[in-house]
Amino acid sequence: MINAMAVIRRYRAFLILVGVTAGLVAFAPSVGQRALALSKANVVEMLSFLPPIFLLLGLLDAWVDRKTMMAYMGDEAGLRGTLLAFVLGSAAAGPLYAAFPMAGVMMEKGASMRNVFVFIGAWSTTKIPLIMFETATLGFRFMAMRLVFNIAGIFIIAKILEKDLEKHPLPPRTGAS
């Protein structure tokens, strides 16, 4: 009983939103049906991407110890670590939200914050399959320009966030680990 209550509390926001969708279906059927279809597609997409990502994350957690992670992606890893973070992020598949749990484990294992943010930046804008798709739909010139701008942005943002973290260190984790 207490257990069920706890589960309901954790899923409260989700249940409310499902209620809103149900309300839309009842009172504004065209918008409601669309919302239902989109949510379903979103959840299916998530459930297709997340299991392998969390699997990899669990393996990373179990096999790569702090020392190894620090050697490859910590502060001492220098430019090579940053390059590795960039390549890993670009080779990734899946929406940006899937990058956060990965970044969480990297952070815990001692990757430098600069590298964590380069990883997230690369994941968000330089994913290779997406770039090929972008070239096909929007043309090479547009893709190349955007890519050049965004790669510069990834490093600038990572640098600024790293500086900021030196002044305001991260509070203890609140997320699931």
């Binding site: 939103l17 969708t21 919302a35 989109l38 379903k40 994350l57 899946g94 956060f100 929007l138 943002i157």
Partner: protein, 158 residues
């Protein structure tokens, strides 16, 4: 396609891990499940919220908002739309192409795409769970500012 490759890699490594150490593999699976189950409520809420948002903002509405000669106002709308919504790439790029075809400028289109990719207001609760509020807000704000600057430059250039 890319999901399939992801599964292939994950299962290959899992098999390798299992051959090397049964205990570590069990530990990895336990950790994978725990972190998945831990963040699932936030994921589900965000995705349903996005579904509702996009049901209201359909393709026609977006094209109309960013369309021909929408100018600086169009830039602003593109920035807000891109930041708030979350649209997967395989929908976003064709949408951007149809925006260009409908007469939207390169600047508006780049603004929409860049904010879409780098800024995520609806996914902020997820980001906060891993990075804390300050860092999540900070990263999104910086990404937003950068997206605005680079898109204005790109629009002026192309």
């Amino acid at each position: 396609m890319s999901a399939l490759a992801l599964y292939a890699v994950a299962f290959m490594l899992l098999a390798l891990s299992f051959m090397k150490s049964r205990e570590k593999t069990t530990l990895a699976l336990k950790k994978a499940w725990k972190s998945f189950e831990g963040i699932l409520p936030q994921f589900l809420s965000v995705l349903v919220f996005i579904g509702i948002t996009l049901a209201v903002l359909d393709k026609e509405t977006i094209t109309w908002l960013l369309g021909k000669e929408s100018g600086a106002m169009g830039m602003a709308i593109a920035a807000v739309l891109g930041s708030v919504t979350l649209i997967p790439g395989f929908i976003a790029f064709p949408l951007a192409a149809s925006l260009l075809a409908a007469g939207a400028g390169y600047g508006q289109t780049a603004m929409f795409l860049t904010t879409l990719m780098m800024v995520g207001v609806v996914t902020m609760p997820l980001e906060t769970a891993y990075f804390g509020k300050r860092l999540a807000v900070h990263r999104n704000a910086l990404a937003f500012i950068y997206a605005v600057l680079s898109s204005v430059a790109l629009g002026a250039w192309l």
